[in-house]
């Protein structure tokens, strides 16, 4: 069981054939909620596991930032999927996805307050007590901030990581999105993040709409995101970087070129 290494890609059923044909691939992610806890594991992932490819379950619906305690059944599911895939770690978001009995449908930001830090840390501790492997936490891309932030992003994240002893899953496209939308400096944020705790990076595409940068995962990775990836890897390169694509899948040649661009920016060997 090896940790994430090199350039990876988010495994999705729609691109299973493309992913299976990547000769140098050592690492993928799968959306944890897409794998039934009692199996079967999708065939494409079974084949990748036989080749020794590391598969990391990436949860999207745990709602670790929800004010209610994280649902034990969801933690149990994530734990079961980690076992099924013999995963070295799992990952989830610093976000909430439901409240008051309603699903938001996506990851929503928390107020960067002491109260929210306490809520996240309590839920991460609940999850960690049931998970067979370490968890990496991912800060999200947010289009809005809460009105009463007490901490900046680096302080908020640092506090959560220190108190939970969790790993960091840093999404470089989210760093771009948040700093672009807030009008702050992405490199200054990188300077304050604990880069040595990064288990792996995410990189994804996005687009500008109505004055905001949207982290869509359905558009190409724009040059500023690749530049930021290069900037980060020049400081301290994490063990792995994973491309997330979640729709509007381009022709295989374009997706290969994008993986090559990620490899070039990060200094990892191409996997194509």
């Amino acid at each position: 069981m090896t940790g994430p290494h090199g350039v990876g890609i988010g495994w999705r059923p729609e691109i299973a054939g493309f992913v299976a044909d990547l000769p140098g691939l050592r690492f993928v992610e799968v959306i944890a909620e897409a794998v039934p806890s009692a199996g079967p594991v999708p065939d494409g992932l079974v084949e990748l596991r036989k080749r020794g490819v590391t598969v990391v379950p990436h949860g999207v619906r745990l709602s670790l930032g929800g004010a209610e305690p994280v649902e034990p059944a969801r933690v149990a599911h994530l734990a079961a999927v980690a076992e099924l895939l013999a995963a070295p770690l799992v990952s989830e978001h610093i976000a909430f996805v439901r409240a008051g009995g309603m699903e938001a449908g996506h990851l929503l930001p928390l107020p960067r307050s002491r109260e929210a830090v306490d809520v996240v840390c309590a839920n991460v501790a609940r999850a960690q007590s049931e998970l067979p492997v370490p968890i990496a936490l991912e800060p999200i891309a947010a289009l809005f901030d809460w009105p009463d932030d007490e901490l900046d992003e680096a302080a908020f994240l640092g506090e959560i990581l220190d108190r939970t002893d969790a790993l960091l899953l840093l999404d470089i496209a989210n760093v771009h999105a948040n700093t672009r939308n807030r009008g702050t400096d992405p490199v200054a944020l990188l300077d304050r993040l604990p880069l040595e705790r990064i288990a792996y990076l995410h990189v994804a595409g996005g687009a500008e709409h109505g004055g905001f940068y949207h982290d869509t995962h359905t558009d190409p990775v724009p040059p500023p995101v690749l530049d930021l990836l290069a900037e980060l890897c020049a400081r301290q390169r994490p063990p792995a970087v994973l491309l997330e694509r979640d729709g509007h899948y381009p022709p295989a040649a374009e997706l290969r070129a994008e993986l090559d661009a990620v490899a070039a920016a990060s200094g990892f060997p191409a996997v194509t």
Binding site: A34, G101, M102, A104, L108, S113, D145, P147, G210, G247
Partner: protein, 187 residues
């Protein structure tokens, strides 16, 4: 986010976006959502739990703008959630989206704006039924709905379940017949 692709010609497969949670959360009307009652100075925003509920209600159920939030970024987030939802529904209901053509995703977004999601499968099913009820379901989408109706029992409240007995599904001019789990479209 990832959803398993749904082959409209193979409706006997179990469609599910969230294999970990067989039962969806029942949506609450916005008016019932707990929310803070800030005073005139906005100094009592309520607990985090109340404020999260109020924010979600504002984003997905037409609830009021929570106090203190900047309207434009929240509107952008609301629109982004609806676009994402439309994409998920289109993956579950490809012929519904294709049948509406250029009107998709606007038709979905108009329908969904004040309705919290029940997941892509049920959202699309509910929309298809609403369009059928007012004779506005395109022919392609009618075939898709008829096939699903023949294969699954869906009460509009809980996750659809495969039918055990023979059934006929109708939508517009489309009629689908299901026998022993196999569905045939008659016309």
């Amino acid at each position: 986010m990832s959803t398993a692709g749904t082959n409209p010609m193979a409706p006997a497969a179990h469609p599910a976006t969230d294999a970990s949670q067989p039962s969806a959360h029942a949506p609450l009307p916005a008016a019932d959502a707990p929310g803070p009652t800030p005073d005139a100075t906005g100094e009592s925003p309520g607990s985090l739990e109340q404020r999260q509920a109020q924010l979600v209600a504002a984003l997905v159920a037409g609830g009021p703008l929570p106090p203190g939030f900047a309207p434009a970024p929240l509107a952008a987030a609301r629109a982004a959630l609806l676009r994402k939802r439309a994409g998920e529904v289109a993956r579950h209901w490809p012929l519904l989206a294709a049948g509406l053509g250029a009107d998709w995703p606007a038709a979905f977004i108009e329908w969904a704006a004040d309705r919290p999601t029940s997941g892509g499968l049920r959202d699309g099913w509910d929309l298809a039924r609403a369009l059928r009820a007012r004779d506005a379901l395109p022919a392609l989408a009618a075939e898709e709905l008829a096939i699903r109706e023949a294969a699954f029992r869906y009460d509009g409240q809980r996750a659809p379940r495969p039918r055990r007995s023979p059934a006929v599904g109708r939508a517009g001019n489309a009629i689908a017949v299901q026998l022993a789990g196999r569905v045939r479209l008659l016309r």
